[in-house]
Symmetry: C2
Subunit: 404 residues, 2 copies
């Protein structure tokens, strides 16, 4: 008895004619085993970026509706070509746009949220024995305006379809062969993780692991759709992302992330009275700036320093807003620091083992790496350090926690 499998192929997996043919072969082999297949495809290689570049030559601030109209063509091209590639090897296949497949979203262009999926057409095609190819990343409003789902949108399409269709499996094919304990370009001894929980994956994604966007993982977690992240270039099993991972080993932590794209802002001599922190971060939020880590030193005087990190791309804007706020609340100087990196350890294991934080700090101290900020969550500990120590810190922690 065959399974219903949703597969998602990212842009690098369909970047050219040869790769599209390879993907078709892979799909065909699954189909021949008697499985029903729904395949979600991203735009070929850099197509989306090229279209956006073209748009910006015409209008530096394109309307979001027209942006979606434009970039959604990228996935439409991929699905048609993949269907043709399957036909060429005698597989029955049919391609659909987000609109045709009934992915209804809100009208929040460029980052629309899926409201519902009408699965009738997919089910009909599957019943006819066809492989269903769906354009990822896109949907349509009730008024038939084309929308896109934002970064990592194709993953979201796959997860949402797997949920709506009650699929047996959801495979995310990408150009890496799974989730690693840390970035193998930094630590060659990084190991592929066989199984990781949604919670850990979510934490890793938000701390800088780039394989999947947090949003798709959230949806998969919410509907408990196990994901299999793997490479489209080989047949090795990848990483399973699941609700609860059996912990064979006594692993304290699961992975280490690094983010070098943040900058630190410190507002000095903030009057230490209730409501001041709220005021600062409310105004930053209203300016559309996402604040990441926040650290406030315990004040011994009536003044305190508040430090926080923002994405480097938002630094200029964040500084401007911060200086305005500092003035209005009669705080002191506003200091920026771009020379920072955030290294974090992630793992549900740390919940039950005390001393993980201490071990992390000790390890960094042993390497004479000074910690500038610390922030912890239930299953992660982040440290801000100088950028130049970033890679060394990752390698040191990887060894200290026995991940190699």
């Amino acid at each position: 008895m065959g399974k219903l499998i949703v597969q998602k192929y990212g842009g690098s997996s369909v970047a050219n004619v040869e790769r599209i043919k390879n993907v078709a072969q892979r799909i065909s082999s699954y189909h021949k085993k008697g499985n029903s297949l729904v395949v979600v495809v991203s735009a070929m290689g850099d197509t989306t970026d090229e279209l956006i570049e073209l748009a910006h030559k015409i209008n530096p601030e394109p309307s979001e509706r027209e942006h979606d109209m434009l970039v959604s063509t990228g996935e439409q091209i991929s699905v048609a070509l993949l269907a043709m590639a399957l036909h060429a090897i005698d597989c029955e296949a049919i391609s659909f746009t987000g609109m045709q497949v009934g992915i209804i979203t809100d009208a929040n262009h460029t980052k629309a949220r899926i409201l519902k999926i009408n699965t009738e057409r997919i089910k009909k095609a599957l019943k006819e024995g066809k492989i269903v190819i769906v354009a990822g990343f896109q949907g349509v409003t009730v008024d038939q305006d084309i929308t896109t789902l934002g970064r990592g949108g194709s993953d979201l399409t796959a997860v949402a379809l797997a949920t709506a269709l009650k699929a047996d499996e959801c495979e995310i094919y990408t150009d890496v062969d799974g989730i690693y304990t840390t970035d193998p370009r930094i630590e060659p001894r990084a190991r592929k993780i066989k199984m990781i929980t949604f919670e850990e994956m979510l934490e890793m994604a938000s701390l800088g692991a780039q394989v999947m966007q947090a949003r798709s993982i959230e949806v998969a977690m919410k509907y408990n759709v196990p994901l299999h992240v793997r490479s489209s270039f080989n047949n090795s099993p990848g990483t399973m992302i699941v609700k609860e991972a059996p912990r064979m080993e006594e692993a304290l932590i699961t992975g280490i992330t690094l983010n070098k794209n943040e900058a630190k802002i410190t507002v000095c001599d903030v009057p230490d009275k209730p409501g001041i922190a709220a005021q600062i971060f409310k105004e930053l939020a209203e300016a559309g700036i996402n604040v990441d880590m926040i650290v406030q030193n315990v004040s011994r005087t009536r003044k305190t320093d508040i430090s926080f990190t923002v994405a480097s791309t938002n630094l200029t804007k964040a500084l401007k807003v911060s200086k305005k706020i500092a003035e209005s609340i009669q705080a002191g100087e506003v200091i920026e620091d771009q020379d920072i990196a955030r290294v974090a350890i992630v793992g549900v294991g740390m919940k039950s083992y005390p001393g993980v934080a201490a071990k992390m700090f000790e390890c960094l101290a042993k390497h004479k790496i000074n910690i500038e900020m610390i922030s912890t969550s239930d299953i992660s500990i982040s440290c801000i350090i100088k950028k130049k120590y970033a890679e060394e810190a990752v390698r040191a922690l990887h060894a200290a926690f026995g991940l190699g």
Copy 2:
């Protein structure tokens, strides 16, 4: 009081960023005069050909449904970019795909016929003061499958929209500035025709004039939508295609066409009995071969020669079929001749003036150009001559009929 104008811009008019911006300027100037505008756009430059080439690398015989899914992206890109270009110069504009604008077609992929157009959404957008940008060349079946309308399909979209919306004007923008008495590359003294009837234009299109496809002209004629064919690169008035053109001059003919892409096939010694010709052309039609001119010599014996022309691209196939037929009807040899050109004079004027044919033959005779086949319609006379005389014949006829 503004007019409702449908404008169509061909692929060369939107081939790059600069041209798209120019087109936006032109549209804006019409809009500022208080007109309501519906703009139909083709795919940028060679986009469609490039997509087809890509498809053929994946599957030499792509499914027609997937072909339409693929190539329809070309127009979708154009409309989004043109809307962005209009926004950049502060014009309110909104783009639509064929599906969104309710162009319902049959399911005859790659050459679908328009069944109806739901104009509600266009009317609503026009009422809001928006310029409506519509993807040409495409429609959608009642099952929401994307279709394309075949060659010249964007013209057809424009004409059909002008009809459905009861537009005041329908302008076809292209890279030439109108219809000429003959191809100016052959006869530099060729003159732009100010006004031409649908009937004449239809005849010229089917005889080789390449500016517009016959199908769009047929539809415009059927619904009596006057067309204005003009250039998007300048502001000169182009050619009006209308039901009845006032004949100021005593012009016998309106234009001269030349087609060098035909080949002649002669089936010799065909038994001269009823039904034989029907048999030959029925079998050719069943093989999907379009036959153009047919000439049968009066037979003095019991045998006759039948000659006909086909598009050069169909010659091999047509020869194969013809030889099979010749054998089965016990005819003689089958001869091919690729060294031919078809020169034709077109004009409703010839209806009321006898002697036009004689004048044409005389002119060719004076230039010692031998006529191999003759075929006439109500408003045209075609002669097959040797290819090497083609341009000379065009120039001679252009002068003889006083078109310069």
